[in-house]
Each structure stands twice: as C-alpha cells, then as structure tokens.
Assembly symmetry: C2
C-alpha cells in the first residue's frame, strides 16, 4: 500500500513538471507569435490551452483521491495540497500565454508590438521562458535555492515592465493609444506570468521547510 502511495505522490509531482513543459511551450510560442505576427502559431497556443486545463483537472482529481483514500498527514498532505495550488498557478500561466497569443491574433496581420519594442518584449519572452523552465526544475528537485532564483528573475521582469512604460510614455512614441494599450497589457501578462512562478517557488519552500506560505501583494 505504502509503495503504491509513494508512486502516486511521485506521479503527482511528475504531472506538475509536465505542466511546466506545456506552459513553457505555450509562452515560447506566444512570444514568437506576437513578435512575428504569426497567426497560425497564435491559434496553436490558444487551442493548446485545453491540454493544460485537462492536466490541471487530472491533477486535482488525483490529489483528491489520494487525500480521500490515503488520509495523508504532515509533509505528504502539505505536498498534495500545495500541488493543488501549484497546478492552479500553472493553469493561470497557461491562460496568460493565451492572452499574449490573443493580442497577436487581434492585430493580425499588423504586428502588435512596434519595432522599437521588439527588444524589450523579446527579453520579456526570454525571462518568461527561463522562469518557467527553472520552475520545472525547482519542482522536480524541491530546490529551495532555485526558488530564490525565481524571485531574481521576477525582479528582472518587473524591471522590463517598467522599461516598457518608459518607451510608451516617451514623447517620441508615435504609435498612438491603441498600440500603447496593447503593449501595456501584454507586458502586464508577462509580469503576472513571472509572479506566478515566484508563488510556485514559495509553495515549494513551504513543502520543504514547512515555513508558512505568504502570498505576493
């Protein structure tokens, strides 16, 4: 019984890591779709979100079954309940990738990101890519030090978010209000994406150390 249970716990954690891989693909493709005005890729990201939602639902079912059938306590219970929270964050990160892809689709065939902002949005995409990959590693290895690195990456994302505002509010901005709003919202999606990674890192720290979890503001 116990060994089956350990296998189930292991399977739950693997499913979370699998989710990070789906979310990684989603955000990489979403970034490409918005930078290159690639409609097919944007559509693929939007359609692909169902797989992320399904995996989240599966994780929830499995977690509830484990709680009901195995009556876990202490660390195991913490892992399972945190797993539910982590899955919710990853599900939301998938949604944010979809929002980026939808911004690309909305303006197609025009680019949603003006040329001057390609560099900053490219870097936001790179940080988003790195942070979700690192999140997968942190989850797989219950890596408390890695969780701290997620916060550093998030700081970089916040900095890029502020940089983008400087561009948009500069007197040289010639793209008008609609484009300003588009890129502001896209930037906000990336910024929230990184926030969720930090939240997941905090949950992992909570699993490992039992330290109370404190939400971001």
């Amino acid at each position: 019984m116990r060994s089956t249970y350990d296998e189930q716990l292991q399977a739950l954690e693997s499913s979370l890591v699998d989710m990070t891989h789906l979310v990684e693909r989603a955000i990489v493709h979403a970034t490409k779709s918005i930078l290159e005005a690639d409609l097919l890729l944007a559509e693929a990201v939007i359609a692909g979100d169902e797989a992320i939602d399904s995996l989240a639902a599966e994780i929830e079912d499995k977690a509830l079954q484990m709680i009901a059938l195995q009556a876990p306590v202490a660390t195991d219970l913490r892992i399972i309940v945190s797993g539910l929270r982590i899955s919710a964050s990853l599900e939301r990160m998938g949604d944010l990738a979809v929002h980026v892809a939808k911004a690309a689709r909305l303006r197609y065939p025009l680019p949603a990101v003006p040329a001057e902002l390609h560099e900053v949005v490219t870097e936001m995409g790179n940080v988003a890519h790195s942070i979700v990959r690192k999140t997968g590693e942190v989850l797989a290895q219950r890596d408390v030090a890695g969780a701290a690195q997620l916060a550093v990456m998030d700081d970089r994302m916040d900095q890029l978010h502020r940089e983008l505002f400087v561009w948009v509010l500069s007197p040289d901005w010639v793209y008008g209000i609609e484009a300003a709003i588009d890129v502001t919202l896209v930037s906000r999606y990336y910024e929230r994406f990184a926030d969720h990674a930090v939240t997941i890192g905090k949950r992992v720290v909570h699993i490992v150390t039992g330290a109370p979890y404190k939400p971001l503001d």
Copy 2:
C-alpha cells in the same frame, strides 16, 4: 467528534463569508479612492490587505488540520479543498482592490480617472460591489442559482470594460497616453475581480452538484 467536526466545517465556511465582507469593503473603498482622489482611503485599502491575507492563511491552516485529523471523504473533502481554492480567489480579489487603490495613490493629488470616465468606472465599482456581495450570499447558502447570476454580473463587467476602451480610443480622448494606460489597467483589475467571483461560483456549484470544475479561459 462528529459534531465538533461539523462545527469546524461550518466555521470554515463562515470564514470564507467573512473574507467576502473584507473584500467588499476593500473594493468599495478602492473605488471611492480612485474616483475622488482620496489618498487616505487608498492607504487604508492598501494597509487593510494584510487582514485579508491573514484570514486566508488561517483558513488554509484550519483546512489542512481538518484534512489531517478528520480524514474527510466525498462531499466534506470537496468542501474543504474547494474552500482552499475559494480563499485563494478572495485573497486575489483583495489584491486587485489594492491595485485600484495604488493607481489612485500613484496619481494623487491628480485624479486617476478623467471626468468623462467617472460614470463607467462608477458602474464598474458598483458591479464589483454587487458581485462580491452576491458571492458572499452564494457561499453562505450554497446557492447554485445565485452562482449563475454571478456570471451575468461578470458579463456586465466585460461590457463596461469594452465601453471604456471605446472612450479611450476615441479621437476625442484628450488625456494622453499615461491616463489611457492608467484607466485601462484599472479597468482590467475590475474585470479580473469579477472573473474571480465567477470562479468562486463555479466552485460552489462543484461542491453542491459534484459537477467537474472547469476553469475560465
């Protein structure tokens, strides 16, 4: 034992309803702070978020204790785990009220909402107020029909969100890009606020009917 347990379950549900009251106050004050450029009120909303976070943490602790000590199954387990999710949504709604208040603080002593948009932002605030109050009732009474009404209120919020874009993108917009971005983000905070209420409604339906929960896109 069982009666203590029922009391605990009842207490958990009451705490969630208490959270809706705190969030209700936060969004009402946040709306007033941004419409009237009221810095003290904005600061109060920002400072008040800690009480919401603490209550969320308390709910999480209690829920985990109940799972560990009582090994609930079936409906009870569904209530407890859904309670964790609901508390996370309410915690986030509190954050969104804080974001509105911070937008008010950022522009103080200037108003963050131009006069032409007072009406639409006032109505967003009213819908946000109604939806969180209704959320409290839906939770208190496990009201499946009420959960459907949350979705109708959310549709109204989405409509206001679109109306606001029409104003901001109109050729008559004279407030510049910074104000356009401010009100777009504020509008997005209200829109997300309402989304979370719908999510909570879906969780209540899940508790009552056992129907699978499906996340919003």
